[in-house]
Amino acid sequence: MTTYFTKDHEWIAVDGPIGTVGITNYAQEQLGDITFVELPGEGTSVGKGDSVSVVDSVKAASDVYTPVSGEVREVNSALTDEPELVNTRPESDGWLFKVLLSDASELDGLMDEAGYKAYVDSL
């Protein structure tokens, strides 16, 4: 399994044809206390860069963009009752949705962990 990162602070962990998407620890720190997560419908077709989820914090609502195109296969229903999982475990239990990749070459434009860390340090 390989994890990639976007400049919009999403991560995608790819295991075969399925990618699990969430927001990074840096992103949740910036957003503050998360109170609601709007998830995409299972079976929805999404295009790379589409806003497919919204993370609502006490401060503001923020779009989450899918790093890859494909079909939403599963959403993290635990977030309905416990949206704060995105704060406490953003890069594990606080994942948002799983997508069946339609074009694995889209991953080539994303950052690896070291690249993302350098990017965040530059902000």
């Binding site: 206390d33 109170t35 609601f36 919204v54 609502d56 006490v58 401060k59 503001a60 609502a61």
Partner: protein, 393 residues
């Protein structure tokens, strides 16, 4: 103390608060607001908007509100001069008493909301009033007051004073440990002054959270020492702008520039209490004709509270519907910690303003169910005069 000209800071970097370094040393996240870099929240286990909000409801929170404008209006006829610009009965306001008021334009639109305190010293021949105005509007307010106050009235911008708000059920205990005796002399909407470490503190029992609390005007060079002395107590923590907003929203208190503007008037904003009885009878304030006719006949719209089902927040600009018809819009809202649900404030047509009315709010293509709710959403806990004390007066 100085008589400041309008600084052209619109294009400049945000200005620094007197406590800027104090906030940064505590790791606060700073954001631009009202022309200043301001702390939105502090770090750590007890930091973050929800924790800071809850702390203030249970203990005492210290807010830096030095971005707000502190003004003195003095001279013979100062009360009457203020009455020409606002609907308060300042002639009847005794020294040491505070009134919430509204700066109005000629149509009765709200230029700003503010606190007016009679700070006339005992025995003084001329009255002096202390005004606290919003940070984002202070330069416009100063310009407006300059233009419309008579020449014999002196306007002074206290731009070397910091302003700290100490708010929460333990605020009086905290103040008493730093400035002994001051809290016991005051009830809600009263003010006094005290010497502290060689400087004068202006102390008002008022605030913007719905809790008991104080607003402390302190020379900026002494602000860090006062903040340190208060935060050294285990019942006081610094609280950011984020929790200030969620606390005031739960308290049903409007935010200028959002819930009240020049396009809203005191009657539709449900701030009729700011129009004193004598002023209702006599008029003589800007927009009096329009405002008094609305008071008598009712306004077409009203500022209301909305309790929203689910967890999704509705924010400023969201359209409010009764069935298929848009009947208003949200002016501020969010998920608030003490209520534990999303709430909002907004304006709706008067037929839809009664508490209990079922409405829907459109957010990102979804229709959220909402109910018109009485405000405040969280009961005010101001320290009001006890009946026994009132008899003594």
């Amino acid at each position: 103390m100085s008589d400041t000209d309008h600084p052209e800071f619109e294009d400049d970097a945000p200005a620094r608060l007197p406590l800027d370094a104090w906030h940064r040393a505590r790791g606060a996240r700073m954001v631009p607001f009202a022309g200043y870099d301001m702390p939105i929240q502090y770090p750590g286990q007890l930091g973050g908007i929800i924790a800071e909000h809850t702390w203030t409801r249970e203990n005492a929170g210290l807010f830096d509100v030095s971005h707000m404008g502190q003004l003195l209006v003095s001279g013979e006829g100062a009360a009457e001069a203020l009455e020409a610009l606002m609907p308060g009965d300042f002639s009847a306001l005794k020294p040491g008493r505070i009134r919430y008021s509204l700066l109005l334009d000629e149509h009765g639109g709200i230029l700003d909301d503010l606190m007016v305190t009679n700070v006339t010293p005992p025995g003084a021949a001329e009255a002096t009033f202390y005004l606290v105005v919003n940070g984002a509007t202070k330069w416009d307010d100063i310009g407006h007051l300059r233009e419309f106050l008579p020449d014999e009235i002196t306007l002074t911008h206290l731009d070397d004073q910091a302003l700290l708000a100490l708010q929460g059920p333990k605020a009086a205990e905290a103040l008493d440990r730093v400035v002994p005796g001051a809290a016991a002399d005051l009830v809600f909407m009263q003010a006094t002054s005290r010497e502290w470490q060689g400087v004068t503190l202006g102390i008002a029992r008022s605030g913007y959270t719905g809790e008991d609390g104080f607003e402390l005007s302190v020379p900026m060079d002494n602000a860090a020492a006062l903040a340190d002395a208060l935060c050294a107590l285990d019942i006081v923590r610094p609280i950011g702008l984020g929790a200030r907003d969620s606390l005031r929203l739960e308290a049903g208190l409007p935010l200028y520039g959002h819930d009240i503007t020049t396009d809203t008037d005191p009657v539709s904003a449900d701030l009729g209490f700011a129009i004193s009885k004598r002023r209702r009878e006599e008029g003589g304030f800007p927009g009096a004709e329009a405002i008094l006719s609305r008071l008598a006949g009712g306004a077409a719209t009203k500022r209301i509270g909305l309790a929203i089902e689910g967890r999704m927040a509705a924010r400023e600009g969201a359209a409010i519907f009764a069935g298929d018809e848009q009947v208003g819009a949200v002016t501020s809202g969010g998920f608030v910690p003490t209520v534990g649900a999303p709430i909002a404030m907004g304006y709706v047509e008067i037929e839809h303003a009664a508490p209990g009315t079922r409405l829907t709010i459109e957010v990102r293509g979804r229709m959220l169910d909402a109910t018109v709710a009485p405000m405040p959403f969280v009961a005010h806990r101001y320290h009001r005069q006890t009946p026994a004390k009132q008899q003594k007066v």
